[in-house]
């Protein structure tokens, strides 16, 4: 599981880097095309929004792996190491159960999509929509990997970042 989680992490990193570069360049070039050349890139806004959706779900998954997402920690922070580990196991199980439900819902959604196309680029809508189940699947794997770590070794559980 660790190996899978790490491979996914590097895929997410590479995709993130490509996405953020593409978004910045597209929007900047669009300003030049529209204001100076009077020839706006008609697909610029839509393409950048779709890429941000992918960056959000991939980055959100990375954020869960790196534990950088905002949470309330001042109560859990006071627990002893062993209690913290048990608490972490409990919270991870809760999260994984609900992520599983969410995954089911979102794959169901993707497979039941009618053949709609996006409004400016005319690409099938499953391309941006797929970011939701893919990001959540990756998040599920990262969290499952963390859960296994917590169960395996108690002592280092709190600092597996």
């Amino acid at each position: 599981m660790k190996a899978i989680s790490n491979i996914i992490e590097s895929i997410e990193k590479i995709l993130s880097i490509i996405l953020i570069i593409a978004i910045t360049l597209i929007l900047f070039v669009n300003v030049i095309y529209r204001y100076f050349l009077h020839d706006p890139i008609y697909w610029a806004n839509e393409a950048s929004i779709f890429m941000m959706a992918w960056a959000t779900f991939l980055g959100g998954s990375l954020g869960l792996k790196y534990k950088t997402q905002a949470s309330i920690t001042f109560l859990v922070g006071r627990l002893s190491e062993e209690r913290k580990r048990i608490m972490n196991i409990a919270t991870h199980i809760i999260i994984l159960i609900f992520l599983a439900i969410l995954l089911y819902i979102s794959y169901d959604w993707i497979f039941s999509l009618s053949n709609t196309k996006s409004s400016s680029m005319r690409i099938p809508m499953w391309i941006p929509y797929l970011s939701v189940p893919v990001g959540l699947t990756f998040a599920f794997i990262h969290l499952l990997d963390q859960l296994i770590d917590f169960i395996k070794d108690g002592r280092q559980g709190g600092e597996s970042v």
Binding site: K13, S16, I17, L19, I20, I21, I23, T24, L27, F28, N30, V31, Y35, N45, S48, I49, M52, A53, A55, T56, F57, L58, G59, G60, L62, G63, L64, Y66, T68, Q69, A70, S71, I72, T73, F74, L75, V76, M87, A90, T91, I94, I95, F98, I101, L102, I105, S106, D108, W109, I110, P128, Y129, S131, V132, P133
Partner: protein, 428 residues
């Protein structure tokens, strides 16, 4: 209130307290509500709602301003701004303390996030002030306190999020932030002036004219950024969102021309940008589902009615909102609080005839103060780890600044004209 609703509220609070990331708390609570209420047809909307949460052009400003900030950070802009402020005013008594405030205000006009700014400033400013004989408590408290101008002086991430949540004009919000930001900066300068008499702060050597000019020349490109952004937005050359992309390109050029930004830094910068962005946008995505459930249960309307029963005076309403937000800001991350609360509060504005732009400024200042208040103040954690000082000592030294910021919050709350003056100038 139904059984399902009460159970949902309990689940929500419980999940928050056991330390589950807030974004996941929002989605887990929403799904639990749907399951408890038995109305499982709602489940099929959840995925669509997640996607539509991010399907908004305005939100693109978040990754772009994050990227601009990271690029500036690596590009050596902070230290140049500080040395410029230092040659200008460092020779006054307590000079470096004023420098911390002024440099923070400069930086605020480039960056859009108080946390990023607190981290950058405390890394440079605290050692510098200690070297000249200020206590670490005072230096870190001052640096942290002055970083709250970051989201108020444009550009501002909180304004962008507020604007996209409410439909208020982001350009107007940017303009409305200028005067409150300067007022807060000035109020801190007055605090230092008072402390100066008592503590007798040190002063630095006066800079020569040549130093002033050299330092000025080296910060010109950085100082141009806010002007380019504001001019570009006002003239219609680009939208607030696109202005962030322009800022990124300028930041890259400046970073390379200062010879501090390296190509090998870039992958790390891009990756950090995406992860930091996603901590916010992932939250927005999940909050969109949560907001959908709240609207379905007609929570905003219920709240509006009970508020109106309480009082129909906007003065009382704003007072209550401010107190509520200060309390929430102390336990909840500012952006999370903004995303959860704004959809609930917005329907009330029309009833109390409060300008949405003014309200955006109030809520932004309020939640930014939350970064400084324990137990959950992200700014506190950042500065306490960067400057190696305990939270308790930091909070004690912060107290005068905290009191003044809350005072300024109330002045800005009830002085609508000062906030809306610049936006109205531009409209005419």
């Amino acid at each position: 209130m139904t059984f399902g609703m009460i159970a949902t509220i309990i689940i929500f609070i419980l999940l928050l307290l056991i330390g589950i990331p807030i974004s996941l708390v929002l989605i887990i609570t929403s799904i639990s509500y749907i399951l408890l209420s038995g109305d499982t047809t709602l489940l099929s909307s959840v995925s669509q709602k997640m996607f539509s949460g991010i399907d908004n052009f305005g939100l693109l400003a978040i990754p772009l301003f994050m990227l601009a900030g990271e690029l500036m950070n690596f590009g050596g802009i902070t230290s140049r701004l500080i040395s410029f402020a230092k040659v200008l005013i460092g020779h006054f008594r307590g000079g470096l303390a004023y420098v911390a405030i002024i440099a923070n205000m400069f930086l605020a006009s480039i960056l859009g996030s108080a946390n990023a700014q607190a981290a950058m400033m405390s890394k440079v400013m605290v050692p510098e002030m200690e070297k000249e004989g200020y206590s670490r408590d005072f230096s870190s408290a001052l640096t942290l306190a002055s970083s709250i101008v970051a989201p108020i002086i444009p550009p501002s991430m909180l304004f962008i999020i507020y604007g996209t949540l409410t439909g208020a004009s982001i350009g107007d919000l940017f303009m409305a932030g200028i005067i409150p930001g300067i007022l807060i900066g000035v109020s801190f300068i007055i605090v230092i002036g008072f402390l100066n008499r008592k503590e007798n702060f040190p002063k630095s050597e006066r800079g020569t004219m040549k130093e002033v000019i050299n330092n000025f020349l080296s910060v010109i490109p950085a100082l141009l950024i806010p002007f380019i952004i504001i001019y570009g937005i006002l003239s219609g050359m680009f939208t607030p969102t696109e202005s962030a992309a322009v800022a990124c390109i300028i930041a890259i050029i400046i970073g390379f021309s200062y010879r501090q930004l390296k190509v090998s830094d870039l992958p790390e910068i891009f990756k950090n940008t995406v992860v930091n962005t996603a901590t916010i946008t992932f939250l927005i995505v999940m909050a969109n589902v949560f907001g959908f459930i709240l609207a379905y249960e007609q929570i905003p309307q219920t709240l509006a009615n009970s508020m109106l029963n309480l009082s129909d005076s906007p003065i009382v309403f704003l007072l209550l909102v401010n107190i509520l937000l200060l309390l929430l800001g102390a336990v909840l991350d500012g952006i999370a609080a903004l995303i959860i609360l704004v959809p609930v509060l917005i329907p009330l504005l029309a009833t109390y005839q409060i300008d949405p732009v003014h309200f955006g400024v109030i809520i932004t200042i309020n939640l930014t103060i939350g970064l400084l208040t324990p137990p959950v103040g992200t700014g506190l954690f950042i500065v306490s780890s960067v400057a190696e000082i305990s939270i308790e000592r930091l909070v004690r030294a912060l107290l005068p600044f905290l009191i003044v910021s809350v005072l300024m919050l109330f002045i800005i709350t009830y002085w609508e004209d000062a906030v809306l003056w610049i936006p109205s100038l531009i409209k005419n």
